[in-house]
Amino acid sequence: MINDIPLNYFLSLAAALFCIGLFGSLARKNAIAVLMGIELMLNAVNINLVAFWRYGSPDPILNQAGIVFALFVITLAAAEAAIGLALVIAIYRSRDTVNVEEINLLKW
C-alpha cells in the first residue's frame, strides 16, 4: 500500500477536505452546520497526522506520535462538539434561532 499510493494523495485529500470544511464553517448560516464544518476540518487534520505517521515515522510501532495526536484531536473534537452543541441549544432556547448571522449581539 505504502509503495502504491504516494503520500501526496493523502495530503491532497486532506487539503481538499479541510477546504470544504472551512467553507462550511465560513459560509453556512446554520450554527450546527458551522460546527459540522469544523468537524470536517478536524478530520482532515487527522488524515494528515496519520499519513505522516505512516509515511514519515522511522518506527511506526514504537513512535506513534501521529496516532496519539490524532486520538487527542478526536477527544477534543468530542469535547468541542458537546460544548458547541450545548451552546447552540442554549442560544436556540433564548433567541429562537440558530442562524449565525442573527447571533450578533456583540456588534458595534
Partner: protein, 721 residues
Amino acid sequence: MVQNFTLLIPLFPLLAFAIIALLTRSRNRLSAWIAILGVILALALSLGVFLEALAEGAELAVNPFYGAPIVWYPYGTATVNFGWLVDPMGSAMLFMVPTVCLMIFIYSVAYMRHSHTGKDGHTIHEDDPRYARFFALISLFTGSMLLLVISSNLLQFFIAWEIMGFCSYALIGFWSFRGLKEHHIDDAQVGRARAASIKAFLTTRVGDVLLMTGMILLFITVGTLDFTQMFSPDGLNNMLLGEPPIGALQWPTLIALLIFGGTVAKSAQFPLHIWLPDAMEGPTPVSALIHAATMVSAGIFLVIRMYPLFVFDSQTGGFSMQTVALIGGFTAIFAAVLGLAQNDIKRVLAFSTVSQLGYMLAALGIGAFVAGSFHLITHAFFKALLFLAAGAVIHAVGTNDMLKMGGLWRKMPITFLTFLIGALALMGIFPFAGFWSKDEILLEALRLGFFSESGAAPLVQFVFISLATAAFITALYTGRQLFLTFFGKPRDQHFYDHAHESPVTIWVPLAILALFTTVIGFWNTPFAPAFTGYVGEAGLVGLPVPFEHHAFDQLALISIFVSLGIAFGGLFVAYFIYGFRPVGAGQPDPLERLGIIYRALASKFWLDELYGYKINLDGTARAGLLVRFVGLLSRFSYWFDRTIVDGLVNLVGWFGRIMARLWGWFDKHVIDAIVNGSGSVTGEIAGWWRTMQTGNVQNYALIAVAGAMAFAILFLLRSFT
C-alpha cells in the same frame, strides 16, 4: 537525669492556663483542680531537679545544669536559643517557688468563694464570678515565674518577666469590674482596683524599659544574652572594649544600673515603690503570690542572676553595687517607717515587703550574696504565710481595717498561731526563719562595715545602721499589727461576730507554710551554714571565686544578740504602745499624737501626690504633681501646635489654594480643551471605524483565515526566494 526535663517545669502551669482559658472556663472546680495539678506536677519535677542539684553540691555553681536546645531565631552566625540554666540559687528558687505557689493555690480554692447574706437572711456561699479566670491567671503567673527562674538567657528571662507584668496587671485589677455588689465589692473598690492595676503596670513599665535598654546595650557590647556565654571572662571583658558612653561612666556600670532599674520597679524599691501598697487591691492570694513567690522575687532574682556583672563592675571601679546597697538600705528603713502608720492589715505587710526587699538588695549590694539570697528564700515563706493568714482574717472578718478588729485570737486560734509564727519570723526572733537570714545580713554588714581588713567602709556602715534601725521598726510595726488585730477587746462587735475560724483548705496551707517558716532557717545557721556551702562555696557562673565566709566567731555571737535585742526592743515598744493599754473602740491610733509626722507617714510622704498616682478610698484617682506638670507642659505644647504651627501651615495652605485656583483655570480652559479635542476626534474616527465589528463570528473567522493566508504567503515567498 531529671535535669534534662527542666524545661518542662514551667510547661505544666502554662498548660493548665491554656486548658482553663480555652476549655474549662465554665467549670470552676475543675479549673481549680487543673491549676493545682499543674503546680503539683511542676513541683514534683522541680523537686527532682532540686534534689539532683543538691547531690551535685557546690560544684553546680560553676558547672550548672545547662542546655539550650530550642533554636528560636538565628542572627548572623549565632543563634538565640531557649533553654535552661540551674545553678544552686536557681535550684533553691525551684524549691521555693512551686512550694509556695502550691500553698497559695490550695488556699485560693476556698478563698475565692465568697460568703454573703442573702435576702432571706441565710449565708450564701458562692464562687467568685471569675473563679476559673483567676486560676488561669495565677497558673500563668506561676508558669512564667518558673520560666524566669530556669531561663538560660536574658531574653527568655525578659519574656517571662513581661508575662508576669501582664499577670500582675490582670490580677491586681481582678475585681475591677462591676456586678460584684453582693460580694461586698462596691464601686469604690472597683475604682481602686482599676486604678491600682494601671498604676502597677505603668510603674513597673518604667523599670521594664530600663531593663530592656540595658539588655540591648548588653547585647551590643557582649554580643550574646546567654548567661553562660555572657559571664565568661571574654564576654564580660568585651564590655570594656568600646568607648565609655557618658563621661566617666563605663559600660558595665551603665548596663548594671539599667538592669537594676528593672529590679527597682519590679521589686518596688524607692523611688518606684509606689505601686506595691496599692497593689493590695487584688485578692489576697494574689498579694501573697506577688509578694512572696513571684513578682518581687523576680526583681531580686534578676540581680542575683546578673551578680557577676555587678561584681565585675565593682572590680573595674564602677559604682553599681554601691547604688544597689544604697537604694536597698534606704528603702529598708524608708518603707519600714511608712509601715508604722498603716491601718490596712495588708498594707502593713506590703510596706514590710518593700522593706525586706530593701534588706536583700542591701545585702547583695554590700557583697553579702549568700545572705541576701537566703533572705529571699526565707522571706518568701514567711511573707506568704503572713499574707495568707491576713487574708484568712480578712475573709473571716470582712474588713481590712485593723482598727476595726481586735481580740480575734479567741475566735480563730489556728490562724492566729500561724500569723504569730510569721510575724515572729518577720521580726527576726529565734528560731524562726527570719531570724537566721536577717541576722546573717546584719552580721555581714557589721563585719564588712566595721571590722573589714581593708578598713572601714562608710557606705556599708550606713547600710548597717539603716538595716538595724529598720529591724527595730519592723518589730515595732509587726508588733503593732499583732496587738491591733488579735489582742485587746473587739473594737467593732459586728465584725467580731462575723469572724470564724478558717476552713480546712485555708488553714492547712497556713500550717504547712508555718512549718516551713519554722524549719527553713536551719538550712543556714551560723553554726552549720549548709546553704552557704551550697550556694556560695564555689562562686557563680563566670565568677568562680568563693564568696568570703567566716567561721562562727565572736562577732557572729555578738550579732545574734544585737539583732535579737533589736527585735525584742521593737516588740517591747509595740507592746508598750498597743499591748499594755489596748486601743479601744473608736479611739484614734496612739501614733496620731505625733501630728504632722504621723500624717506624713500615713500619706506615704506625699510621694503619690508628688510624682505618683494617688488612689483615694472612694475609688477616684488623681495624678501626682509631677505628672500634672508634664500634663500642663503637653497642654501648652498642644496650644503651641494649634495656634503657631497650625497657623503657619494654614498660611501656606491658603497660598496653595490661591495657586491652585489659578492652575484650575488653566487646567479647565487649556489642558481640558486639548484633551476633549483629542477625545472627540478619536470618538469621531471610532464611530466610523467600529462598524467593522459586525458581531458576526463568521466574518471574523474569514478575516482571520485571510490574514493567516497572507502571512503564510509572505513566509513562503520569502523562503522560496
